[in-house]
């Protein structure tokens, strides 16, 4: 089974702190994603990466950056945490369409999530 591991399940940080959320996948997937989940808003895409050192902005990138130095690892960085970044953060990965068990499209495997509270 594909595993997507988010190292921190719960974090509490103070306003202005720099925050790193780490995500590792073990199935050699090309694409990795960071989503933010809020009640009533569903999952919103922050950033994604389709290759090492490549990144693209999603729908809500403001206040965030990402790093992908190795294929298996995708980090989300909050340069200066703010209270409105209190949320559940979900990492996901997928193969390229047509590869492996992708079912011909971008089927995502999610991590269990990192719940961040900014005080």
């Amino acid at each position: 089974d594909v595993k997507v591991t988010q190292s921190s399940r719960y974090l509490v940080k103070r306003t202005g702190e720099k925050v790193f959320l780490e995500c590792v996948q073990d199935m050699d997937h090309e694409n990795m994603f960071w989503y933010r989940q809020d009640p009533g808003l569903g999952l919103r895409l922050i950033y994604f990466s389709y290759d090492v050192k490549m990144k693209e902005k999603g729908d809500i990138p403001e206040g965030y950056s990402v790093s992908r130095e190795k294929k298996e690892r995708f980090s989300l960085i909050l340069e200066s945490a703010s209270t409105n970044q209190t949320s559940m953060y979900l990492c996901a990965s997928t193969n390229l369409p047509g590869q492996g068990d992708s079912l011909g499209a971008n089927v995502l495997t999610f991590g269990a999530g990192s719940r961040l509270t900014v005080l």
């Binding site: 994603f33 979900l90 499209a105 971008n106 089927v107 999610f110």
Partner: protein
Amino acid sequence: QQPVQSPQAVILREGEDAVINCSSSKALYSVHWYRQKHGEAPVFLMILLKGGEQKGHDKISASFNEKKQQSSLYLTASQLSYSGTYFCGTDAGLSDYKLSFGAGTTVTVRA
């Protein structure tokens, strides 16, 4: 742009049926359905591709109307295990790697 899901929530008794709808303002290549149980990661259920292919979960079915850019998920003879939040995700094509998700529909199945 996020697809729109309805209803926001539904409460069922075991054995009852429900329909969850997902609509988009843009042309779609595929529609995905995921279910998230409380405190867990969303899990893939089903995918519907442009052209009519349907794959995935055999206890829950779905339809995809490409012309109307809509999809519906059908929960038939619901079981307690169907409880959770259901999300639809859409993309515009094979080269569009990212999925946009709806706000979710919370399904509660009671005995």
